[in-house]
Amino acid sequence: MAAAIAASLPAPQSAPTPAGPTYEAIPASMSKVIDIEADIPLACVQLDGMVVSKIIKHAREAHGTSAHGVLLGLDLDGTLEISNSFPLPHHINDDDDKSVKGVARYQASMLRSLKEVQADDSVVGFYQAMALGSFYNQTLVETQAIQQEKLRHGGVVIVHDISRTARGNAAFRAFRLTKAFLDAYKRNNFSTESLINHRMTFSSILEEIPIRIRTSPLLGAFLDTLSAPSVSAEPSFTKPSSALPPSFSVLNLGTNNVSKNLEQIIEAMDAYKTEEGNLAYMQRQIAREKGKADAYVAKRKDDNAARIAQGLAPLPEEDVSRLFKIPVEPSRLDSMLLLGRIDAYSKTLEETSSTALVKMYASRGSAVV
């Protein structure tokens, strides 16, 4: 009886589907025009567990030279999923044409090979490893700017800090260039007025995107098996009972690289001071030239006025810019990047010293009482 009634009722209207991404196949001719995924802005980056360990390994092995490589993955529904990565060979001379082509060939070859084993082969960004927290340098900015123009959604840079990982806190951060900075970079104009117009400080060069780490269930199960302690009749105190025992290295009282960090801050500040000195010198030059030009124009005007008073033809007002070369206002990009580095180094220093303080007071606390 109830079934008959249910059958006679009209089928309930499904709730109108929200305007989310549709998964119909786009005809090939239109696929260049309709790019649904590109309309959804990136909100979050999702890193696969394998990528995490690959980046850490590459960063540790390429000590001395900074390690960088390419990230592969897919962007889906506002989340950039990074599923694979490979390191790029380190080229010694960046300006060398051959080495640039070599890297491009390496990348193309790698992508082809990965495609054959059904790995994702779309480049979505690149990663960079650095030490002690500072990654503001020219190459990073340039590479990211190029990438943001070429890739859909603009690529992200994943930055990994080796020293932080060694201290016990494996941290990855994802960045993107802000619109304001890209604007100024395209016009290659970093003079003072341009900075003021865009309200650019070193902290507004890059904007951070939140990261999520994801491990596939298989990986998680494997890790669980490795870290599960095995039960044995005779527990020993020297050998750990599982393949992955918990580590307490973060509780070490150590120097935490303080001296190296301080050295780098001092270096960066020296460079900044030099840079500022150069900037000030250029500004003085410009001011001097402008002063001379203005004086010349004023003198011309006076001469002309005098000649008109005497009844002679006035001298032509020559084009001042040909006589006095006013130098172009220097770019302040370098000094901004240097300030960013100083800030990043001191931030790292601050963090290490705060944890060191906590640990020291904790270990001393028992003696005081």
């Binding site: 995490v52 060979p89 890790l223």
Partner: protein
Amino acid sequence: MPLVPETSALTIQNGSPGFLSTPGRTPTSVTVHPVALFTILDHYLRRTESQDRVIGTLLGTRSDTGEIEVRSAFAVLHSETAEQVAVDMEYHHTMYELHHKVNPKEVIVGWYSTGSNLNTYSALIQNFYSQEIAPHQAVHLALNTGVEEGQQSGVKAYVSSPIGVTPKPENAVFLPIPCELQFKETERSGLDLLSSVSNGSTDAYPATDLDILERSLQSVSDMLDRVLSYVRQVLVGEVKGNAAVGRYLMNTFGASTDELEKGAFNTSLQDTLMVSYLANLVRSQAEVSTRLALATAS
């Protein structure tokens, strides 16, 4: 304070113990880096419908004493039917060249396969790889993903040696050799991160240094609670105390912190305080300087 060793060599629970050490260049033990393991698992996840198991090449370094260290791996195209097995050698060479460019120290040391059944095809592939890296012997890593019922996940390593009357390539016996997981301490926190993510902890990411410290201290505090309750039980008489445990506890907690008061500890503390103050000062200076640059000429 316990010192932390540089590397940690830890044992995977190996199902089949025992190994045969043969003289010469036969590998005697294998240490695997976690990255290689994860790459293999990822490849297994990405296999097509028709493939039951996947194979690939192992890269690493070889020491003089016969210890092989597997540092990374890459997948190789292969197809396996009832009658024959085919391995794409061209692909294998290409990928090896590419990997070699980035890491010149890593060479081919063997091959892997998921699924731990060793059949004729395994012997053939093993022969192929041994020919590739002659005169060294290839190591075969069988990784069991534990996906099927009744099979425990784990890693086993083998070397092959010919057996039988006629030296045909498919007549070989696989001898197990010990296999360990090894990584540097600096990479430890990366693995911790992955373990905590897979355990489903919902802490905010990225965790600051203080969060990590807090977690470690919390776990130490829990351990101390457990030890304390055990000791109380022994004192009351509920549980019979283990002499080894007691001695170990006495040695561990015997260290006193009296001498910390004198000497370098206090000066170090003051230095740290000053460094912290300086770092804050530098940061605020940098901020002020960058704002000043904006303020001029407007």
